[in-house]
């Protein structure tokens, strides 16, 4: 089967001349779970926006499921986007809407405009929404107003929406950075379990290095728009991490990382 993503020498230069992505080549197979780490401003978000077909790269090629995306027209791009579900750090949802509408919005890629309009008045397929919310643990919030939920709960709603969308690929750009740290691990675990169940490809941007190393079988370190390393976590050394975050103001807790690296059985076993 063709790889999900095949990136060759991807570059992205913005109008002001800044180089966000500087020659990235990467292959990701279907069903893989990959964590991206690196200092802020390293280009991870830009990379993700290229991956979810929001931004166009300045140079290089990207193949999605074997198909070169640069040749795709607007409607084909839209179809391709339906197969990619994205969760952002914040601002995924519209606060004034009820949770049920935000969740069912995952269907917008396949609904006609009329159906979308009708659903705002009388939600179509409420059971699907309820089940999705149940998978993320907050089914009782189905009819609540979204801005009445906490940050962690809202991220779960965003995940529920992605479940309703049912894409082949899930991209999550720092999904837990605005969430209470005690909840971060459970949300990341939730994403991993859900993706594994339906054999979806999962790509995560993480700010927290220890969370990444503890949860993912493949770690990609990005610095200044380039890949510094692409390894399984037990091969990641503290020196590599220091080099990755050199010059980053938010210092990485090397001690904590050492602790994790020294524990055997790095990847939390996936729930069957």
């Amino acid at each position: 089967m063709a790889p999900t993503y095949e990136l060759k020498d991807l570059r992205k230069v913005f109008d002001d001349g800044s180089v966000a992505v500087d020659g990235i080549s990467l292959t990701i197979e279907p069903g893989e779970h990959v964590a991206f780490i690196g200092p802020s401003g390293a280009g991870k978000t830009t990379l993700f926006r290229i991956l979810n077909l929001t931004l166009r790269p300045t140079a290089g090629t990207m193949r999605l499921g074997g198909v070169d995306v640069s040749g795709l027209g607007e409607s084909e791009l839209q179809k391709a986007r339906r197969r990619i579900g994205t969760i952002y750090q914040q601002g995924n949802l519209v606060g004034r809407l009820r949770v049920v509408h935000n969740v069912l919005a995952g269907n917008l890629g396949r609904w006609s405009t009329t159906k979308a309009l009708v659903s705002l008045i009388s939600p179509q397929g409420v059971d699907v929404a309820r089940r999705a919310l149940g998978r993320v643990g907050i089914s009782e919030k189905l009819y609540a107003r979204t801005d009445e939920l906490s940050g962690g709960q809202q991220q779960r709603v965003a995940i529920a929406r992605v479940l309703v969308q049912d894409p082949d690929i899930i991209l999550a750009d720092e999904p837990v950075s605005s969430v209470d740290p005690s909840l971060a691990a459970s949300i990341v675990a939730l994403l991993r379990d859900l993706s594994a169940e339906s054999r979806k490809t999962l790509l995560l941007n993480l700010h927290s290095v220890d969370l990444a190393l503890a949860s993912f079988p493949r770690i990609v370190g990005i610095q200044e728009g380039r890949i510094l390393f692409d390894l399984s976590p037990e091969k990641v050394t503290p020196e590599m991490l220091r080099a990755l975050y050199a010059g980053d103001d938010e210092a990485v807790d090397i001690e904590r990382v050492n602790e994790i690296l020294s524990v055997s059985g790095l990847c939390r076993p996936i729930r069957k």
Binding site: R81, T86, Y88, L97, H101, A105, T113, A116, A158
Partner: protein
Amino acid sequence: MRSSRSAGFADRFGSKSAFPYLFGFFFVISFILSLRLAQVDPRLLVEPAALANLGRFVRGMFPPELSPSFLQVVGPAILETIQISVMGTVVACLLAIPLGLLATSSLTWSGILHERAGRFYQGLWFGPYALSRALLSLFRSIPELVWALLFVRAVGLGPFAGVLALGISYGGMLGKVYSEILEGANPRPLEALHSGGAGRLGIVLYGLLPQALPSLLSYTLYRWECAIRASALLGFVGAGGLGLQIELSMRMFQFNEILTLLGALFLLVAGVDFVSGRIRASLVR
């Protein structure tokens, strides 16, 4: 203005300090010229003829004309004014919704929704965008009364011309404000929907409208408050409503009728303001 100052002054305040002086200068010149052009002559107000007329006017107003035969004319005029204002606002909305959407750059060609689209695609949508902006500008820059004049000539006397005149000119105003409200919405939920494969209309329904609806409704209600005042006046050019009666009474120097009509107008405006105000207050939830 900055001629013979010490170097320190110019250094400290820089070239920005010239603006207030320039502005003041032009302001004063414009004011003096305008006084001449507008033939402002306060003495006219206190001339014997003016004061005599004033006396005639004030004395003539009381008591207000409240005979049943006159009230039978005023009543329907009030109702007609309300109807013109409502239909005019409806027509304005019908015009403003499509034009306002097209005039929103973040929906048509700029911003995150169009980052990946090709230049050709962006250019394709720029045309309708520019056209709708031009139309909206044309509609709202010509006063309602002028539109009413044209429509009366085109479709005849009566309230229909008033509805059309209101519809077009207020459509222009609504459309422009709609597009400004939409452009000011938080773009992140829109990007989230877009990245999941939603089409433009889906993004509008689930991302833009929920954010913008209270402001859109609030401004539309405010426009209705303005419409009720405007409808009363369109009658001056034959477009029905209270304005027609006011003009007639003025021509016949029936000042007591004018007092009644103004009183009716006052009650009407107060009523609409009250209803509209209550609804707008409840929108802020």
